[in-house]
Structures are given as structure tokens and as C-alpha cells.
Amino acid sequence: MQTFFTSLYSALISIFQSQRPADFGLYKTDLFSLVGWSTLGVALLLVAAFYYLFNSALRTGMFRTTHWVLTLALAAGLGTLLANTLSKSHGAEGSSYLGYFMVVNLLVAALWFLLFSVLLKRWSTYARTTPFVGPF
């Protein structure tokens, strides 16, 4: 998975900036997989909370696409935050590369959120058609 996250992030970041920073080794060995797993976990948690907590266990009425989009935005925001704080706390230096990493992780978090939504929504009691019907 470390290789997967490294290829995913470095490929996406290289769209913005091909030059790798002097502390890229740190990204490669620690940050990409750490941030990658955390982002994946946060997206999964939010999806589970949206479909199974607020729209199965509880009947909150927050099943609309707007609610879903807001939760997605929260996942994306947390993705940015995670990329920043985890990198800084592990010794990454402030650089344009870190900035693009944050941008990319925003997209990646949103992507995971969308993916998990599609996979998991069918077992929700009240939100099985949010944000759209199907495909399963």
C-alpha cells in the first residue's frame, strides 16, 4: 500500500509541480502512506456516519444531497488538514510541494468519500438513494 500511496500522490502532485523537494524521502517513506491511510479512514468514517448513524440508527432527516455534499466537504477539508498537520508534525518543511500535497489530498479525500458512498449506501435505511439512485 505504501507504493500505491506513493505512486498515487506523487503522480497527482506532479501535475502541479514536477520538482521534488529536498525532504521528498520523508514523504516517500512516511508521509504518503500515513496521510493516505488516515484520509482513507476519515472518509470511511464519515460515510459510515452519514449512512448508518444519521440515516439508519437515527432518523435525523439529513438524507438530502445537500447534507451529503456538506459531509463530502467536511471529508475534503479534513483531508487538507491531515496532510498539513501530519506532515508538519513529522518534520516536513513548509514548501510549495506541501501546499500541492494538501490540494491533492483534498481531492483524494473527496474521491474516497464518493467511492465509499457508492459502495455502502445500499444498506442505509433512509439514504440509500443519496446522492443518486443505483448503480447497485
Partner: protein, 369 residues
């Protein structure tokens, strides 16, 4: 030798010999870098062990009779034949005037010296030679005995030498830590330091001039991954050269002699990039703390997927001052020594040609494709 150590007094300043050697034996006696020390006088037989106080007395002039003196090869042989001589540092202080008693020996000076220091060849010990002139008062015995066999000098300057012989890293350490006030005339043979602390400096730097520039470069698996294909990669390296003799720690010397090699690629030391680190820089940027020097390298080509960059200090050959301090006739006293060049040729021949590098450090490189 007695002439170097006049019994002075308040009115007569100490000779250069007395100042320098007095400081050297004192440092040797008190320095924490030395585990054990023994002192010997080489008169006319095997070295005779003496307590420190007696040696100090000799240096300050409390000698009643001039030693007859041993011929140089016998003296060196006696010193290197002492037990443990090849595992320890021997410091030889002498005028190194070698006028063989047998005339036929004159044709073989380098070989006689080389034979007398055979352990240097066999165990590849290092020899450091320091030369200085000192005022001399008393009877001077030149190597060339005609027209006069001896003269009385009254303060003319003649040379004396300090030789430090021993395992290369110990000689380097003794020179750097004990013989701190060494004279300017220095020659080193076979000197090697232990591998110095060395690392590329990429991150945690605040000084923009130290940060890497150009193409991609980052640290990975104890080496560097870089991509010089678009832009040459410049980066700084830190190295601890505290074990080198003071003269070799000078940035100008290092810039001139340091050698960068990169098989399957192209790398160079950037001009004017070697410098000493200041205390301020080290405390402000803790990543610099283990090093005494920084220098900047440029990798402009890397053809293979992996390569090893090596940074070495090749040993300089016999320095120019040796020729200037040598003479073929020392009958008239001058700041020159009879056959010094031949004596040091004998030392030089104890080592392979070219001399082995003083140190080499290596840095694995990987191409960032």
C-alpha cells in the same frame, strides 16, 4: 643539540626550540588525549627512559655535557624497535643532521633511512615532519666536516625537526590535538584519518545558500536520489575534518586538493564553496553541529540508475619547503639541513606511489526517474 637549549635567565629570552618544545612536552604531559607517555633521551646508545622533569630540565638548559649523538639511522631504528612502537605514536625531536662516519654511506642516504624505519614500510605507519629554525649557542657539528669539523655559534639560526611516527590515525590525532602550535614547515607521509563524519545537508537548514538548488534531490536510504537531467543539482555536504593537521583544515588547501569522483556521471566541487562552519551557524542550525566544514557539490550528469560519489583528500606529495631547507654542504651554518631531501626521500619511498588518500567518504546516488 645542546646549543638549542642554553641555560637562559631573566636577561636572555628562550630560544625558539625552548619555546616550541617546552610547550610540546608540557602539552604531551598534561593532555587528556594521551593515555600514557614515556620520555627518552637518545644519547649514544639505545633510548634511555627519563622522567618528565628531567626532560624538562634538558629543554630549559640544565645539561652539563653535550650528548655525543647517535647516527640518525641507528637512532630511528632504536626508537622504532622499542616494544609497542608500531602501535603508539613516537615523537622524535632532533636536528636530524646526518653525516655518516663511513664515507661510503653518503651514496645511500635514502636507502639507509628507509631501512632504519622499516616498520614504517611494513606496517604503513605515518610520518609527520615539522621543521623550524632556532637560535643556537655553542658547538655546532656539521655533517660535512671540511674545512672545519665544528664551529661555535652564538645565536645563529639552524633547523631542528620534530618527527611524529605511528599508526596514521594516531599521528593525525596527535598532530591535531597535542601539537597545536606546530611550526609552518610541515610534511606528512602516509597520514590517514579515521573516516570523518560526513553527510549531505538537504533539510532543516535556514541559510538559503546551504539549501539544495537546481534539479530534484532528496535523501533516501542513506544516500541521495537525484535527477540532474534538466538542471544540474547543487547541494551542500557537511564533513568533520577536526582530525586533519591545522594547515590542511584551511579552506584554500581543501578547495585545491579535495577530489570528487562519480563514475557513470559528472560531479564537481563548486569553486569557493569550501568553508569552516561558525559556532553561530552550528547553534542556529543543529543539523550542522557534527561538522567542521561545509562544501558544495554539483552533480551535472548521472548516466546509471545508481552510482557512488566519492569525496577524497589525496595525500599531497613532499612539500616545496623541503628542497629549500636542504643543502649538500652544511659546513657553513645556515637554516638548511644536510641531505634533508634525501632523508625524506627515504621516508617517501616507504609508501606506494601515489600516496594513499588521507580519507575517502562515499555517498550512494540513485537516479530519480
Amino acid at each position: 643539540m645542546k646549543g638549542f637549549v642554553p641555560r637562559g635567565g631573566a636577561s636572555q629570552p628562550a630560544t625558539e626550540f625552548q619555546q616550541r618544545i617546552g610547550a610540546l612536552i608540557t602539552e604531551t604531559q598534561v593532555s587528556g588525549a594521551i593515555a600514557d607517555r614515556k620520555y627518552y633521551l637518545c644519547e649514544n646508545a639505545a633510548p634511555r627512559a627519563v622522567p618528565f622533569q628531567q626532560l624538562r630540565d634538558v629543554v630549559q638548559g640544565e645539561v652539563n655535557q653535550a650528548a655525543l649523538g647517535t647516527e640518525l639511522p641507528q637512532m630511528l631504528e632504536g626508537i622504532l624497535n622499542m616494544p609497542q612502537a608500531t602501535q603508539q605514536v613516537s615523537v622524535v625531536i632532533s636536528d636530524f643532521i646526518y653525516g655518516p662516519a663511513r664515507k661510503s654511506d653518503f651514496s645511500q642516504l635514502p636507502n639507509l633511512i628507509r631501512t632504519s624505519i622499516a616498520p614504517v614500510s611494513q606496517k604503513q605507519l605515518a610520518v609527520a615532519v615539522f621543521g623550524e629554525t632556532s637560535r643556537f649557542y655553542g658547538t655546532y657539528h656539521p655533517a660535512v666536516k671540511t674545512p672545519v669539523a665544528k664551529r661555535t655559534l652564538n645565536g645563529e639560526k639552524v633547523p631542528y625537526y620534530v618527527w611524529v611516527i605511528g599508526p596514521p590515525a594516531l599521528v593525525a590525532r596527535y598532530t591535531a590535538e597535542v601539537f597545536k602550535n606546530a611550526p609552518a614547515q610541515q610534511a606528512f607521509f602516509g597520514l590517514k584519518t579515521s573516516t570523518p563524519a560526513f553527510a549531505p545537508l538537504l533539510t532543516k537548514l535556514t541559510d538559503a545558500k546551504l539549501k539544495p538548488s537546481g534539479g530534484t534531490v532528496y535523501a533516501e536510504n542513506n544516500g541521495l536520489t537525484l535527477n540532474p537531467s534538466d538542471d544540474p543539482v547543487d547541494f551542500s555536504v557537511g564533513v568533520n575534518l577536526g582530525e586533519l593537521p591545522a594547515a590542511w583544515q584551511k579552506p584554500a588547501f581543501l578547495a585545491q586538493h579535495m577530489q570528487v569522483r562519480l563514475p557513470n556521471g559528472q560531479a564537481a566541487l563548486l569553486p569557493n564553496s569550501v568553508r569552516l562552519l561558525t559556532d553561530d551557524e552550528q547553534s542556529g542550525q543543529p543539523v550542522l553541529a557534527p561538522y567542521t566544514h561545509v562544501m558544495r557539490l554539483r552533480v551535472s550528469k548521472l548516466a546509471a540508475p545508481t552510482a557512488t560519489l566519492s569525496l577524497a583528500l589525496p595525500a599531497p606529495e613532499t612539500p616545496d619547503w623541503v628542497a629549500a631547507w636542504s643543502t649538500a654542504n652544511d659546513n657553513t651554518p645556515a637554516p638548511r639541513t644536510f641531505g634533508l631531501d634525501q632523508i625524506l626521500t627515504g621516508v617517501r619511498q616507504s609508501y606506494p606511489s601515489p600516496l594513499p588518500a588521507v580519507f575517502t567518504v562515499q555517498l550512494p546516488l540513485k537516479n530519480d526517474k
